[in-house]
């Protein structure tokens, strides 16, 4: 590991060092290939200066190819092909003697293109390309012919046909090799600084880890305090400290770290550029600041769904959401309650929102246990005094603030005489989703504490009414097949987390996609869960979907790892196989931009398309759709593919 201690002192200085926008000018920043020994040619052969001299190495692969293809005949045939200066066979081309044969032949026969006809390029191309480079030949002047997996092994009973096919496949490679041009893998410098958007648990974890890995971090939080949604919470299911006390050390570490600049009351106004070189503008209380960063971590979090009009919410004072319940507990404003009903999946799982919000079951259980464990206090004299409810928590929308006032205006929400005995808590659920070990243990604990779990189906949703001063939950008992009633002092609705309304805005600024559920959509659901398809931008926490605090922390750390990769290397090694635009032909229609899944091609200020080398993956989608045929894929040009196709149509003798 190279310690990253040369972090620049001030952002300004770094900005001066920042590289110019490296659009696709093929200026080879890469160093020339390392010469293995003195005998290597002084200058590698280039296609312009010299005639084509193609060398072909046909592999027997023991008997794997040799047993089913007449390799010597193939070699003789290959020697007759245009531009082939040298051809030979090897028992094992990948063995050291085979590799030496390639190195020697490149020098001895002044080869400027090399073809190996053997197994599959998917496993062996890097090996042979490496050998070419050692001998001073640009690795993009190497071409493969797959005559094992795609010939000898699949035509084991037709030696003649297999031999002819091997000839054709090599001929096709020869015709392509003649059109190959050397490519350089461009290097683009990376600004060693991250922008973390969102100061909740995920963003804090990400920021701290990026900083500890040696890079500058700018943490942007729209509110005036750090902590995010967790600040609304009273307790956490794991651990015995209050939510606030639990995350306090994390906030303190972030505030104390010298690599981290915290921007409170701030928003990201604009973002341009690409991986390694994003230009961002952060606006704080009306004044803006430009910051150049190499990577961006999105940790903008989520909000709680407001169940307007559902289950008496907004109508009855003691019908509250889970988060409102937590705020009441946290602020000591909880009315006296004995019978409490939790209703799960309010607005989720195919109701208003199609998804399961993952964590509401465990949160309801947590709060049910909180009531059970703090019952004496809740029912005690102290709890009877009701004062104005604190509405300063910024996550609470104005709509919810109104609700809070209703709770407080009511003052004594708890009815009548102080109930006796323990609390009676019922959790109406569709499926108790306490996945994993930690959550399931919690569920079992709740059942031990005599918390009732009653299943309901969407055919028979519970109904909440008020009878006198009591709330009543009318529900259908699925096992007894009867309608039932439950009196409750308070009904708590478990509503899903939803994407905040400003996610759409950020999506446009960063050109990052949003999924059907409204949350940010990762690059790949399985293997790139915290990356965006656009390189250099990452996502963690509830911004990508419902997650509990542990998962948010893990994802935050995960994005810190992902974001640190290009910064630790200090540069992006751009693909050499990328799109190239001919500005003379391009009319700036923008079709390519609409087709690129990586945002790697865009219209420049001159009105022609330009390729962002650092972001291009070389799939070729843009080239195949360019209305003017102004885009070619290096190493897979139309001419090369047509040459291959044509040579196949002509066939071997």
């Amino acid at each position: 590991m190279e310690p990253e201690e040369q972090t620049p002192e001030t952002p300004i200085e770094q900005e001066e060092q920042a590289p110019q926008t490296p659009v696709v000018q093929q200026e080879p920043i890469a160093e020339p290939p390392v010469e293995p020994d003195e005998e290597a040619p002084e200058t590698p052969p280039t296609p312009d200066s010299e005639e084509l001299r193609i060398g072909v190495f046909v592999c027997h692969c023991g008997t794997n190819i040799g047993g089913f293809v007449d390799v010597p005949a193939v070699v003789e045939y290959v020697k007759t092909l245009p531009n082939v200066a040298f051809a030979r066979d090897n028992l094992y081309t990948c063995a050291e003697d085979g590799l030496t044969a390639i190195r020697d032949a490149i020098k001895e026969h002044k080869l400027n293109r090399v073809i190996v006809a053997s197994c599959t390029p998917r496993t062996h191309a890097p090996l042979f390309q490496g050998v070419c480079e050692e001998a001073g030949l640009n690795k993009y002047l190497f071409e493969f012919a797959n005559i094992r997996e795609q010939c000898s092994w699949v035509h084991m009973k037709e030696k003649e046909d297999a031999t002819r096919k091997a000839k054709d496949l090599i001929k096709s490679s020869v015709s392509k090799a003649a059109l190959l041009v050397p490519q350089e893998e461009m290097k683009v410098d990376v600004v060693p600084r991250s922008l973390v958007i969102g100061g909740g648990v995920a963003g804090l974890s990400a920021a701290l880890s990026v900083a500890r890995q040696g890079f500058d971090v700018h943490l942007v939080e729209k509110e005036g305090v750090l902590g995010g949604f967790t600040r609304n919470l009273n307790s956490l299911s794991l651990g015995d400290k209050s939510a606030e006390d639990t995350i306090k050390p994390l906030i303190e570490h972030v505030q104390a770290h010298e690599n981290i600049t915290v921007h409170l009351n701030s928003q990201v106004e604009s973002v341009s550029g690409f991986i390694g070189n994003f230009d961002t503008t952060i606006v704080t209380n009306g004044s803006s600041k430009e910051v150049k960063v190499g990577t961006i971590i999105v940790a903008t979090g989520a909000l709680e769904y407001i169940p307007e009009g559902l289950y008496g919410y907004g109508m009855y004072d003691n019908v509250v959401t889970l988060t409102e319940f937590e705020i009441l507990c946290k602020s000591g404003k909880l009315p006296k309650i004995k019978n409490v009903a939790f209703i799960q999946c309010v607005g989720s799982r195919g109701q208003d929102k199609s998804y399961c919000s993952r964590i509401c079951c465990v949160i309801s259980i947590k709060n049910a246990l909180y009531i059970t464990e703090n019952f004496a206090e809740i029912m005690g004299e102290e709890g009877a005094e009701r004062v104005e409810v604190d509405v300063s928590v910024p996550e609470i929308s104005s709509r919810r603030r109104r609700r809070r006032r209703m709770v407080s205006a009511e003052g004594e929400a708890a009815p009548g005489p102080a109930p006796t005995g323990g609390p009676e808590i019922t959790i109406f659920n569709r499926d108790v989703t306490t996945y994993g070990a930690d959550h399931e243990v919690y569920y079992n604990k709740a059942r031990e504490k005599r918390i009732r779990f009653v299943r309901y189906t969407t055919d028979n949703l519970p109904k909440v009414t008020q009878e006198g001063d009591k709330l009543v939950v009318n529900y259908y008992h699925e096992t007894l097949k009867t309608e039932r009633k439950l009196q409750a002092d308070m009904v708590v609705l478990a509503t899903p987390l939803i994407a905040p309304p400003d996610a759409a805005d950020l999506s446009k600024k960063l050109k990052i996609p949003i999924g059907r559920d409204g949350f940010f959509l990762e690059a790949h659901m399985k293997l790139r869960p915290i990356d965006f398809a656009t390189d250099g931008i990452f996502v963690c926490g509830t911004a990508r979907g419902p997650a509990d605090i542990t998962e948010s922390v893990a994802q935050g750390l995960g994005t810190a790892s992902r974001a640190a990769i290009p910064m630790a290397r200090g540069f992006i090694q751009a693909e050499a196989i990328l799109a190239q635009v001919d500005p003379e032909i391009c009319t700036g229609c923008g079709t390519c931009e609409a087709n690129c899944p990586y945002g790697a091609i865009r219209l420049s200020d001159d009105g022609v398309a330009e390729v962002l080398a650092a972001a291009c993956k070389g799939c070729g989608c843009c080239g195949a759709t360019c209305p003017e045929k102004a885009i070619q894929m290096m190493n897979y040009t139309d001419d090369q593919l047509l040459a291959q196709g044509r040579s196949i149509l002509q066939g071997a003798m």
């Binding site: 890995q213 195919g350 399961c356 070990a437 399985k526 293997l527 542990t550 893990a554 995960g558």
Partner: protein, 433 residues
Amino acid sequence: MSTDVLVIGGGIAGIQASLDIADKGGKVYLVEKTPSIGGRMAQLDKTFPTNDCSICILAPKMADCYGHPNIDVLTYSEVVGVDGEAGKFKVKVLRKARYVDETKCTGCEECVAKCPQKVPNEFDQGLGERKVIYMPFAQAVPRVVTIDKENCTWFIKEKCGACKILCEREAVDFDQKDEEVVLDVGSIIVAIGYDIWDPTPASEYGYGKYPNVFTGMEYERMINASGPTGGEMKRRSDGERPHKLAFIQCVGSRNPQLGHAYCCSVCCMFSTKEAMLAREHHDDIDSTIFYKDLRAFGKGFFEYVERAKNDYGVRYINSDATVQENPENNNPIVVYDVAGRPEKEEFDMVVLATTLVPRPDAIKIAEMLGIPLTEFKFFESKDRILAPMDTVREGVYLAGYCREPMDIPEAVAEASAAAARAVETVLAKGVTG
């Protein structure tokens, strides 16, 4: 001081953690017990909720990992001792003899074709057979064969040796010896994944007793195009393909009596996937899933279940279930209850979503590392809220299912997270001394 990192376990979590560190310029030793990296994910046919082909998306990562200049992949190797502390661990690794020279073998498998001896194939959950000299699976990395010494005639009675005679590269080496190497590393990541619980002791499900009761992983191998049946579902009793499938959830899990009180997090979804794939293979297959609580809690999961119901005709029944058998046709009979009334229904194949359990190795590895396990034998985090990747021992980090039941994307995210922590540690140690 060493800034190198040891990663234990070559599944998707171990691969991802290795790649993250190596891509930053760190040197990684990836130690994998079996002959190939890839882990459980390599065994899966498709992955939920996109039905992506599992090996298709995994194989490029395996190749990246093996070919990475900063990653030393030690397959068929085990960690046998750990000394020292963060920044300067000394790790003893046993490199088991595979009796094949990794640098010479081209993976042509000619020897495999000629080897006369067959044993059950563990990669196919014992459904098919493999040879005694074998490639663990078609996409194995590294693409070299291994001799299973326990079953090889050469090692038992010094006979045969066909592989050695046949191999023109002279890659077979019966004299190879186990070897112990010592690695100096600054940090360690544990990502050893999970095992599949054998449901035979839970006799109420009839596994091992009734031929047409399968485990989820057996089914997964069976429907895989490169699996033991070439992608066909076949009943063990008569080789016929089923038309009516039952999937039973929480077999062994959420069950304190069996010691697995936890939920495996993934079974509701993989059974849903498996039921959908049955319909994709043959559109006359009907599937029923018996579940306790339908836990479709990840991104797009609930929508996936809805699709299974609406577009694939998958029937979900909320009930515990046990299995009996119709002795006449070996059809399993599922016994369940609806609103307290017992019901019976005959199927022609039953697939059990068995618990995914911590590996037995966890105990040994935890001891070696001096870190505690939870009551269920998962590795215990130092702080389950703010430091889930950390252990009580500085410099030792956790990732994936061996820490807490989770699906692939979570394991991948955690792998990156553990990589971040490991890098933080080696950097800090490197600076301070």
